[in-house]
Assembly symmetry: C2
Homo-oligomer: 234 residues x 2
Amino acid sequence: GESEKRITDIRENQTQKAGLENKELGDISTENGSKPKQKSNTNSFENLRVIGQVSKLYILAERGEDLVLIDQHAAHERILYEQVLKMKKSRVQELITPVTIDLTPKEKVLMEEYIPHLEECGFGISEFGDNTYVVTFIPEVFGRLEDPEIIHDVVSDLLASGKVKKDTGISERVCKTIACRAAIKGGAACSPKQMEELIEQLKKAENPYSCPHGRPTVITFTKGELDRMFARIQ
Amino acid sequence: GESEKRITDIRENQTQKAGLENKELGDISTENGSKPKQKSNTNSFENLRVIGQVSKLYILAERGEDLVLIDQHAAHERILYEQVLKMKKSRVQELITPVTIDLTPKEKVLMEEYIPHLEECGFGISEFGDNTYVVTFIPEVFGRLEDPEIIHDVVSDLLASGKVKKDTGISERVCKTIACRAAIKGGAACSPKQMEELIEQLKKAENPYSCPHGRPTVITFTKGELDRMFARIQ
């Protein structure tokens, strides 16, 4: 009874904190805002010691005596999203083998809308005969491209999401889609060095606490919370 | 809102599971019982991969895609308690330098009650002049004794806990006190090998899910629970 009550309290307390963090962060429409105001969060990524990876999806780290969980995909998505937003066209890589994309006439109409924004973000993309496009450059954030499938994925994600009314909406959607497809996937094993680098980059992000879709990147269990879960303290 | 609600649900669900486990285990008075009946728990310690240690207190491990936290002190306490209960006098070590203990006349009365039980558990202890006792043997569970202070601690823990009515109560208390003082402390850095051995031993325990005082030794976060905390799934 006592023990159950205690764990419930901790979990509820955690939830309230998570909720507060989300509110502080705001949703995507307040992107480009200032850093979170909570003082306690300011140094959340300082002195993090990587412990390891669980489920090939979450990075476990220690900050002081607290346990910190980081969603590797969400964190990387946030990092890449901010990079794409800031740099746009500045960093591109040429594809050794250009990738062709075939579209239906309906998709082609939508594609024409997306092309200027894709180009602004570092894609080199042009018409190549009837309903076919060829991609010759891609943003550098994709790293060495092992699988041309990713280009098809970006395009199909965009086409699947349909029409956007405002022009800024299209640009934002393109940046998010690039970040999402370029980010390290859940299910990818990370080396300690890779995890440390990810945290290092996340630390520098403007809004490190949520991915571009608004999902949390970090959840912290304080030592006190762990101690209460294990009934070490009342 | 949505995200908060989701985390609350997970935490409540976790709590219910923890409560259920505690009920299955029963309290210390049902010690020596059979293994937990829940099938899902039967192999909780199989195929655990140690990830690391947080706060020098909790072992982090992965089972399948789940995150498992183990309280190193509580787990070791459970292991040693069962060893002491089973072996009692059978395994002892001689002290190179006997340890003397001075008591007040009041404490001496209580000590006389404890001595047969301390001896049954592997202590060699005898009167050595007015209100002084000398300890020449200790249970093997203490390992190589680096600090004779631990013997004083066991005795003072027992004396501080006062009179016990039933004879079985004294014996149980002695076993618990030995286990508690001999167990690895919170705050001790553990090597991966030490953590693996601890889990290996815990796996063989009759009641691996709680320490002799009834506190949990293990808390599991399933991948689904982690995914919901990070709003990966609804």
